[in-house]
Symmetry: C2
Subunit: 380 residues, 2 copies
Amino acid sequence: MKINLDKYKNLTRNFEREIINLNPIQRGGILPVEAKKAVYEFWDGYSVCDYCGGRLDQVSTPPICEFLEDFSKFVNLDISRPTHGAREGKFIVMHSICNEGDYVVVDGNAHYTTYVSAERSRLNVVDVESDGYPTFRINPEKYKEVIDNLEDKGKNIGLILLTHVDGNFGNVEDAKKVGKIAKEKGYPFLLNCAYSVGRMPVDGKKLNADFIVASGHKSMSASGPCGLLAFKEEFAEKILKTSEKFPIKEIEMLGCTSRGLPIVTLMASFPHVVERVKRWDEEVKKTRYVVDELEKIGFKQLGVKPKEHDLIKFETPVLDEIAKKDKRRGFFFYEELKKRGIGGIRRGVTKEIKMSVYGLTWEQVEYVVNAIKGVVETHK
Amino acid sequence: MKINLDKYKNLTRNFEREIINLNPIQRGGILPVEAKKAVYEFWDGYSVCDYCGGRLDQVSTPPICEFLEDFSKFVNLDISRPTHGAREGKFIVMHSICNEGDYVVVDGNAHYTTYVSAERSRLNVVDVESDGYPTFRINPEKYKEVIDNLEDKGKNIGLILLTHVDGNFGNVEDAKKVGKIAKEKGYPFLLNCAYSVGRMPVDGKKLNADFIVASGHKSMSASGPCGLLAFKEEFAEKILKTSEKFPIKEIEMLGCTSRGLPIVTLMASFPHVVERVKRWDEEVKKTRYVVDELEKIGFKQLGVKPKEHDLIKFETPVLDEIAKKDKRRGFFFYEELKKRGIGGIRRGVTKEIKMSVYGLTWEQVEYVVNAIKGVVETHK
């Protein structure tokens, strides 16, 4: 065995410390100082298990069991469990409440992990298509059509799923209406809140959700991977079914899920997260400002207008034009932004870009806007 | 919604910093300084995904793809993937290579997560019993008997599983022989190395293993939860099957698994881990010293003798005697050790205790031995 170990000896990263990161999957996962302090305490392996009586969700030092109760209040559902992330939460729900071969009805903007979770659970997926370019909005009434159609064909529907905020356009969909349709039809309703819980206020019962999955690393200022699954009590029996041989251990959790550092950062960040969702209006204001300013230089916002979420997708024909004549081709934009201390826009991409200024100060937002304007104006 | 957030504002822990932790599940998961430095760089949410092209195992900055190749070399198997831990690795193997209702043959000392993984995969489990008190050794020949018996009954066997080192007695089982039996019978063989890989040398092919699961937080000096699954190429098609709709995404990984901080600690600790397994003989020597010394005061080591692994289980009738007359009852031992800066022995337990001195200096080992002797001698 010959291994060159030198490459592991100085693992560094300059994002966040030196570079403003505009990647929408990263802006909601930046740790506040309180969480960083907790990291120093809990970084060792099984550090949350010092005082464990056999189950992660019952650990009281650190206060995991209280945190789960508080999270249930935060999203207004009955019971919560830690997970490794939103995708793992979706798999747990699908695998425990559906039967092999069942149909899952999902929105056409659903994250790829929704499909993959269904495939792993050996379920069929049917899309409710969005209204397409340029808004890509999901019409709740179309859920009704798809469901009726499946029922007419005698298919077994196991679950209705909606991506509360999708990762492509940052549309905030009408969960309440989709949930109402699911409820009227008698099907359980899962709301994928990977991009909403922790960024904006989410009330599970008001939105008619039976299950909510949340992402710690994406939107709750936690170290990845971790997340939460919250649900209504009536599903507890299936989701929390315990092992025959080890009656304290929950099967779908494989006993315990997030047994280590990430869940501590999730807890330590929670006060910060609870406070920041109260300032959601201000975040939307920043986002709309970015859209207004960048549309002036030829960017075109896709998705619902005006923006109701910080994730922005732009069509950027102006960048594409520049790329044709710049010797760096599509990489000019990435490289010019990098010079200005800005990162997180995909390298080489010029036709469409995704970005977010979530959590940046107004001063930083203006800096970003002016930097992008500057790059475009000096190169076109 | 009324939540008292104060309890999350100062999450602290004194283990490791102030207390010598004898808990066997914790001793192999303590971070070396190199990993702590990397934590500081990568603690934010999706920090390992800055330069991702769509799959965690292909990320080259940080060098995850190279790490997986190096890990394959380290355990001498063909292909590796990150997981959330050993249990998640077992589930991935069972779920992808077995069919519902198949039988899994496991050792009677198997960790509870082996059973729970099988339950979640909707498989049946049959135990190969150990030889019982006091050694609890697994006889490989008994695997043959159990397999023959299942075959006679016409049962479908999907997997043979052995816990390389069990978490109760710290016995190192004869994987090579069990693997040979599995191979002769034509069944795939999974070796659960949660307590071995990262502590002691493990050669997958030499041990006839088709799959190895390892635990980052338990035995590879990584922040929990994370682990690795390594396997022979012939199983790649099933384990790494990709999504129909998203052909780059591996179904059993739900796309990506350990997408964050823990895998960085795993990589940063790897040089330390590679070095420490070379000193395994010294660790066994320390363990045997502890056994020799504590048997002098009435402790009795269970499991195979002499010890071949750092996890020690003692019967402790002498502690039980003291507990009967001490006003603190069974808690006297925990509390007396705590006064001496030692933790990790379960509170209130006096009939049997589990402990490990893995990774402690000889000076610390002697301190622990003398402290335990002192507590017993002054109280009995």
